[in-house]
């Protein structure tokens, strides 16, 4: 199996520049610095790489949206805010091979003609931020970043920045507001960041994993990357697996990999071989699928869509028969109610009310009308807000009720939770 991202994860001290370089770090620099930026964009476009932060948009195409005739500075911003429940794959890159991401940053910045890049770390990632500061200092010292990189005349300044605890700052426009020193409030799009982003200048926001893939594409070529995975979902992807499995962790597999295989082989099956009840495949925001559906699912964008869900960030949450559907959904609602930035009424009120209604259902104090109430709240949230955080709760509400309706009804009928707590 070709490993694009995790190849050197097992190596000790990969954060040290000399060790990383022994493992091939930064060999792509001379190559790209001899290329035209447009050619780098084309290469990434041809690889078929899609953004790994959740939305799955073509990376090369996004880079191409930077206006050609702009006289303003252009920025690259790295999204290292990773806060979606179930997602811990970017953290693995930041800890186990930080220079791989820096190399990706240089490639992306060169391609979009940026001379400044900001890396936005979630506030809790203090150690990862500190490590990155050390890596950047080392790279600066030997002229891998900074002015006139390798005598090419190309300048690139990379700055590590810290957030301070707000999930919403993972949303790209909220991230930009936060980076400018404001509250992390999402902005209405358009204008898209590629045209008007950080400080009003053209800005490309990319996920950590997306950038970590770029060195492979440049080194081995777009065709070599496109050969991995499936035709429509090329490449490999990191999946962070948690929940009821024997071996939770971060695994890299080619897209199109059967979920059943990931579960049994990489993850060692469910705990005590209990029956799989449900699967959240792409981080807490995506619709849930039943255990049966999950066992037939392939891990790629199209198969997930075919099953009514999304590949999202690759945060795989495995849920077995011992878990209560109402409790899981109530926990998700609490999360979104806590993390709503409060700008839009449907989101601020809708997430809060969903939480209240789900809590009372779980406590056995709900009525049969509450299910319709929840669905009505979901309808009032979805597609009616500035950013998709409201949808990120509306979708789970609809899918959990649709697929596990009897369990919700049991809570009403029995006036309590049928699962031992």
């Amino acid at each position: 199996m070709t490993l694009v991202i995790t190849k050197n994860f097992a190596g000790p001290n990969m954060a040290r520049l000399d060790v990383a370089m022994k493992h091939g770090a930064y060999v792509t620099l001379e190559k790209i610095l001899a290329m035209k930026p447009e050619a780098v964009v084309d290469e990434v476009k041809r690889s078929g790489l899609r953004g790994r932060g959740g939305a799955g948009f073509s990376t090369g195409m996004k880079w191409g949206f930077v206006p050609k005739d702009t006289t303003k500075p252009i920025y690259l911003v790295v999204n290292a805010d990773e806060s979606e429940p179930g997602t811990f794959k970017d953290r693995a890159i930041l800890e186990k091979d930080p220079h791989l991401m820096i190399e990706g940053i240089i490639i992306a910045s060169y391609a979009i003609k940026a001379h400044t890049c900001y890396i936005y770390f979630r506030g809790e990632f203090y150690r990862q931020w500190e490590l990155m500061e050390r890596c950047l200092a080392e790279a600066r010292k030997v002229g891998i970043i900074g002015n006139n990189i390798k005598g090419s005349g190309y300048n690139l300044n990379i700055i590590a920045h810290r957030g301070a605890g707000a999930y919403i700052c993972g949303e790209e426009t909220a991230l930009l507001s936060s980076l400018e020193g404001y509250r992390g409030w999402p902005r209405i799009k358009p204008p898209f960041p590629a045209v008007e982003g950080l400080f009003g200048c053209p800005t490309i926001v990319n996920n950590v994993e997306t950038l970590a893939v770029c060195p492979f594409i440049i080194r081995e070529g777009a065709a070599a990357y496109a050969k991995l995975g499936t035709e429509k979902s090329p490449g490999t992807k990191l999946f962070s697996v948690c929940g009821h499995v024997n071996r939770p962790g971060v695994y890299e597999v080619p897209l199109g990999y059967p979920f059943a295989k990931l579960l049994s082989e990489e993850c060692g099956g469910t705990i005590e071989e209990r029956k799989l009840k449900a699967l959240i495949v792409g981080g807490s925001s995506v619709p849930v699928v039943t255990g049966e559906e999950a066992l037939g699912l392939r891990l790629d964008y199209e198969s997930c869509a075919g099953c009514g869900t999304m590949l999202g960030s690759g945060g795989v949450i495995v849920i077995d028969e011992t878990a209560c559907a109402v409790q899981v959904l109530a926990d998700l609602a609490r999360f979104y109610a806590h993390e709503s930035c409060g700008q839009c009424t449907p989101c601020r009120e809708g997430t809060g009310w969903s939480k209240k209604v789900l809590d009372r259902l779980e406590a056995g104090l709900g009525s049969s009308e509450d299910l319709n109430l929840l669905l009505a709240i979901a309808d009032n949230m979805q597609g009616k807000t500035i950013c998709p955080l409201a949808d990120a709760l509306a979708m789970p509400i609809r899918s959990w009720i649709k697929k596990f309706r009897t369990e919700f009804e049991d809570h009403v009928r029995l006036k309590g939770c049928p699962f031992p707590s």
Binding site: P73, E130, A164, G165, C242, F335
Partner: protein, 156 residues
């Protein structure tokens, strides 16, 4: 109620400011310097930051009050943050909050009387596969058992 960063930190603050085309963008990083020094961010400190970044004190308050990691009151020296989001709960993390509560004799949101510990619960810290987990100040502690928790708290 005068507030000042130490000389070293003030130098760092100016380095931070130089990293951005607009002074205000250094806000979060400068607030981190304040919290590192004091453990929390007082109104006097907000005034100082406002001065430094050439914004109003209200602008600074607006930011401090939005982000959950900035403390607007003094808290215990070691801030214990336990994740009780859904993935950690699936891996049986519920006992952890109760265990630490009992051990320290405080509720969530409180500090021990000697000011040594402060206990909070938080949402997902990107550690879902290594639950139960907690963060104490800058460090993560994962795959926790009761014995591990005892050992960690004793050493602090």
């Amino acid at each position: 109620m005068n507030f000042h960063l130490t000389k070293d930190r003030e130098t760092k603050a100016h380095e931070m400011i130089a990293r951005y085309p607009k002074k205000r963008a250094a806000m979060l990083m400068v607030l981190w310097l304040v919290q590192e020094q004091e453990g929390w961010i007082s109104e006097a400190a907000m005034g100082y930051v406002a001065n430094l970044l050439e914004v109003t004190a209200a602008d600074v308050y607006d930011v401090v009050s939005f982000y959950t990691m900035y403390n607007r009151k003094p808290i215990g020296k070691h801030h214990i943050q336990i994740c009780n989001n859904c993935c950690c709960r699936l891996r049986g993390a519920d006992w952890l909050v109760n265990y630490v509560k009992q051990k320290l004799g405080v509720n969530v949101g409180e500090s021990t009387p000697d000011g040594k510990f402060h206990l909070s619960t938080v949402e997902c810290l990107a550690s879902c596969g290594t639950a139960p987990m907690m963060q104490i100040n800058n460090d993560y502690y994962e795959n926790l058992t009761a014995e591990k928790v005892d050992g960690i708290l004793e050493k602090l």
